[in-house]
Structures are given as C-alpha cells and as structure tokens.
Amino acid sequence: MADTRRIPGGRRFGLVLSAAPALWLLAFFVVPLGILVAWSFQPPGIVAALRPVVTLEAYRSTLSAASYWRVLARTGVIALTVAGVAVVLAYPIAYTLAFAARRRRNLVLTLALLPFLTSYLLRIYAWRLLLGTKGVLNVLLQAIGLTDRPLPFFLYSRTAVVLVLIYVWVPWAALPIFLRLEQMDRSLIEAADDLGATRFRAFLRVTLPLSMPGVFAAFFFVMIPTLGDFATASAVGGSGGQMIGNIIQQYLNSLSYPSGAVLSVLLLATALVAMALGARLAGIRDVGDVRV
C-alpha cells in the first residue's frame, strides 16, 4: 500500500517542505531538550542560571534514593495498565466505526471525539464530582441500597488516576486502530467466509492480526504520554497516586532544577527503552511498518 517509491524532484521538494518544521523543532524541541540535559549535569541546588560546571553529583544523589525508583515503577505500571485497558476498550469503537456504523460513522466519530471540545483539565476536575464522597457514584450506590454510607476510596487514589487516564485516552486509542481496519482489504474476510470460517474465527485469524500494527501504535500512543502525565495525578491521585511527573514538577516548581532534570532524563530514557522494546515486540523495523 503506502509505498515509498520515489517521485521526480521529491527529495528536494521534501527538503524545502520540511525546512520550517525542522527549524521549529530545533528551536522549540531539540534546544530545550539540550538545555534540560545540561541542567542534569549541574551540581544539585537552587540556582537561577546554568554555570560552566559539569558534574554527575545530581545523578548520584537523585538516583540513589530508592523512592524515585519505586515511583518510576509505579508510573510504569499505571502507564501499562492505562494503555492496555484503553486499547481493549477502543478496539470495539474502531471496529464499529470501520465496519458497522456505515452511513452514521461521521456521527459516531463525532460523538467519540466530542469530549475533546472541553479542556483536558476541566474534564479531570469533572471526575471529582463523580468520584467524591458526595459524588454522583456514591449517591447512586446509596440510592440503590448497595452501600449505606459513602465509600471514601474512589477519589484521591491510584485507581482514580487509572480510571481518569483511561477515560481521557480511549477515543485517541481508537483512531489508529480504526485507520488500520479501514485500510484493510475486505475481500480477505469474504475469502475466510467462503472457506467456511465463522465470523468470530475470521475476526480472530484475519481481522485482528491484520490490525495489530494499529493496536501497537495505539498502545504506545497512550503509554508514552501517560508516563509523563502529572496533571491527572495531582488532581485526583491523592497521597498514594503520585507519578514521576509530579516529583519532577515539584522539583522544577521549587527551583531545584538539577534534580528535576535528572528525573526528566530518567523518564525520557525509560520511554525510549519502552519504545525500542515495543518496536521489537511488534516487529517494527521501519516507520513504514506502522502504517496507521
């Protein structure tokens, strides 16, 4: 399908086209990232500006604290859970969009993306109204007589963080899977049908394997940003649901830049390793293999 065949003059035209975004990325992504890495080699402390010193002291003092490794592990578990569940929930949406919605698919797609008309932060805060002690969920549980007093553990917990992040990501996760299903050659399913496969078997043996690159793309699409999330955890995470992003934020807010930079580099390395592992698992050797 999406072949990378050359087109006449494509190389030069590509260079011209990419000059502006490349400059943009250099100025607002690569250089800031370089500044971040430079900060991580500064002596730990509160300083307003970079100094011409290079030391591993911040790495030594920060990485020797066991609690940071624990919070990184906790963050990893949260990100994997969120990505896993989001993909499972997103698949049926993508399937419906690709095969079942027919003429209503514009409507279904619009409905799926409707929450994004509201700001991310507002939607997180709205969850407080649902999960709180006097929240909708507790009121409902008491009204139908399942509990006789409000349950305190919905809000301000690790569960709340996972729940909200899944909610936020499901529509996004559906998109790469949908695109993949959409591009699928439907005659393959007809062939399976002709050869006597049940619908479920055809799904399992034909549709699902063919959509796996989309599933992997969706998984990482959710997992990587979740690793660095801090807004959700700070709004609904409570004392037990802090993620590494919150620790980085605490350091940066209080001007202990070197320690915050070290944890940022650690998070970056974790995300890169996760991506490399994922690419290997999914058998992706070239971006063209992903074909979302």
């Binding site: 690569v30 307003a48 500006a49 604290a65 940071y68 305190p152 004392s239 620790i247």
Partner: protein
C-alpha cells in the same frame, strides 16, 4: 536514536559553553557592613513609571489608593508571578525588570544572597512604627531591613467537627492512627518540614542531616493519614466542603471559606503554635525610582489600605491599626485580634537556597514514597 543522543549531547555542551561565556561576576550580599541606600530623585520629582512584580489580583486600585492620590501622574506597571519560587526565578534570571516585588519572608535571604535587593530606609516610611514588630524583624539582615511585611495569615489545621470527634491539639497529633485517610496536606516542602520539626521539637530551620532523615521518615509515615496533597487554595476548600477530608492543613482565609461552605469547622490552635506566612515588599538594587518605591510601600502599609486587604481579600495586614478600621466580623473570623495566638505563631523564617534545596529533596522523596 543514537543520532538523537549525539545531537542532544552536542546541544548540551553548547549550552554549557554559552553559560560559561555569560557567567556574571560574583553574587552580592555577604559583607557585614551596612549597604548604602540606592540614590534616586525624590519622589516628588520622579515621573515614574514604577514597575512592580505582584501576585495576580493585587493590582486593584484599593491597594494603592493613597499613593495614586499623592502621585496621580505616576504610572504603575505590573508583572505577575504565582509562587514564591517564580517571583525569585523571574527576577534572578533577568526575565523581568522591576523596582518593587512582593515575595514572602521565607525567600528574603535567598534574594539577599543573590545580590538582588537593596536595604530599606525605614526612616522614610511614616507607618513603619505601626507595623507588627515580630513581622518587621523577619526582614532584618545585619542591622538593616530588606523586607517590609504587608500581608500575612495563619497556617494551621481546619477540622470538620462533624467528622472528627477528638480534635488534634498539637502538630504531633496528626500522626494519630485515628485520623487515617482523613487529612489534606499542602504540597509544600517548607511547610511540611517546618510542621514536622515543631511536632518533634527540632530546631527549624537549622536542621542537621539526621534531623532531616528523621523528618523524612516521619512524613512518609504520615502518608497513611494523608488522603491528598493540595496545591491550589480552592482545592482544599473544595475537598473539605465535599467531605472528602476531615482535617486540612490550611490558611485562615481557607478556613473562612470552608465555614462559608456550610461546614461545621474549627481552626485549631496547636500547643506548639500555629504556622504563619508573611509576604511583603522588597526593593530591587538597581531601581532608579528608590524614593518613589518607598512611597508606594508607605501607602501599602497604611491602615486605610490594610482595611481593604482584610475586607476584600481576607488577608491579615502588617499594620496593627488596620484591624480597627476593618469589618469586625471578618477580623473575628480570621482571628486577627487574638494577640495571644499571634505571639505563639511560628512565622516563616527566611531560608537560604541551600536549606530550601535540602527541604525540597526531603519532600520529593516523601511524595515519591
């Protein structure tokens, strides 16, 4: 990926080289001798403008009415910051250039050590003698004052009496297993370290490594009782009004709002004293409008402006005469007249950059644990 790393390391090196070239000559402060007051034209001959770094919302005309009356032609130009750290960061990096800034007492030493601020000629402040003496001393370095207190408030425990039967009456009570999952703490390293030091009788802020290790363990232990860390003022008010937590470490204006939200609550007066925050004005060393800046401060610390701070924003005001002009009900609610409580209050002392960084390390590990 390897390419990205190579590119990043090149950029990192370039940044450091850049920093080396831009390195400025030494920091100020240090010496024991009295620093001179910056020279400037007298306020009456200074056309301004006066540039201020303020908290958002503090630019309202009520907070500088006497100044505007006396100097109607001087324009006030505001920049804003939203945390003690960002006030310092903005000025220290040269991001903003102002004549006056409004940080809090706990940051004064850091500003001074960085050579950013000028001593204040208090003889030019007509209201100086009316200010609370304890708050005045917070900004004294050597024989000179570098900070004029303006607004202040308490930090203590707001307790929902419908949810908690036995009230805590010292900071150490917070560790009582009875309060499991009931407490909201502020996400604020200095506050948490200070509170733990008072609870266990440690000499805040001059804490040894062993003291800090002990405080860290204690705070990690406390997490069993802590349900959430609040960052924005309304987060705590909301969590208390919704009944998500029963005990909140918070300010007296938050207490007033919690009561206003219909909660039966008390504001605890711990044996070891409440905490207290004090914010106020510093004058930047390089200001060409020194005298004008002092006139602005003198207007801000007048009882007339203090009345507005209390009535409009539920703040305490450093001028002891302000409470006489303010709405008695608000004064009562905020506990501003309780001189006995005030005398035992642990107002936030200035920290050095090194102390603050050590406290940040402790708090980050507590959050992560």
């Amino acid at each position: 990926m390897r390419k990205l790393f190579r590119l990043l390391s090149v950029v990192a090196v370039l940044v450091l080289v850049g920093a080396a070239c831009a390195e400025e000559g030494g920091t100020g402060g240090g010496g024991g001798e009295a620093a001179p007051f910056p020279s400037s034209p007298p306020a009456a001959e200074d056309p301004g403008p006066l540039r201020l770094l303020e908290w958002a919302g503090y630019e309202i005309p009520e907070f500088h009415a006497p100044f505007s009356e006396a100097y109607p032609d001087v324009k006030l130009e505001y920049q804003f910051a939203d945390a003690g750290s960002s006030f310092y960061q903005k000025v220290a990096t040269g991001g903003v250039e102002v004549d006056l800034a409004h940080p809090c007492s706990n940051w004064v030493t850091t500003w001074y050590d960085a050579g950013l601020i000028a001593p204040i000629d208090v003889s030019r402040l007509s209201h100086w003698d009316e200010l609370d003496p304890k708050m005045r001393e917070l900004g004294k370095i050597g024989d000179q004052y570098y900070f004029v207190p303006w607004d202040w408030g308490y930090e203590s425990l707001i307790v929902n009496t419908d949810m908690v039967e036995e009230l805590p009456d010292s900071w150490a009570d917070l560790w009582d297993p009875r309060y499991k999952g009931l407490i909201a703490m502020e996400d604020f390293s200095e506050g948490a370290v200070a509170m733990t030091a008072w609870a266990f009788d440690l000499p805040y802020p001059d804490l040894s490594d062993e003291d800090l290790e002990f405080i860290k363990q204690k705070l990690i232990e406390l997490k069993r009782n802590v349900k959430l860390f609040w960052a924005g003022s309304t987060d705590l008010v909301q969590a208390m009004v919704n009944g998500d937590v029963a005990i909140g470490y918070g300010w007296n204006d938050q207490f007033a709002k919690v009561v206003d939200g219909g909660v039966n609550a008390v504001y605890v007066d711990p044996q070891d004293g409440r905490g207290g925050w004090v914010c106020g004005f510093v004058v930047l060393k390089d200001t060409p409008h020194y005298d004008l800046a002092l006139q602005y401060i003198d207007s801000a610390i007048s009882p007339e402006v203090g009345k507005e701070a209390i009535d409009l924003y539920f703040l305490g005001h450093s001028n002891t005469k302000s409470v006489e002009l303010a709405d008695p009900e608000t004064v009562e609610m905020l506990g501003l007249l309780d001189t006995d409580v005030q005398a035992r209050t642990n107002f936030a002392v200035p920290l050095t950059a090194e102390q603050r960084d050590r406290f940040n390390q402790v708090w980050s590990e507590v959050l992560a644990a």
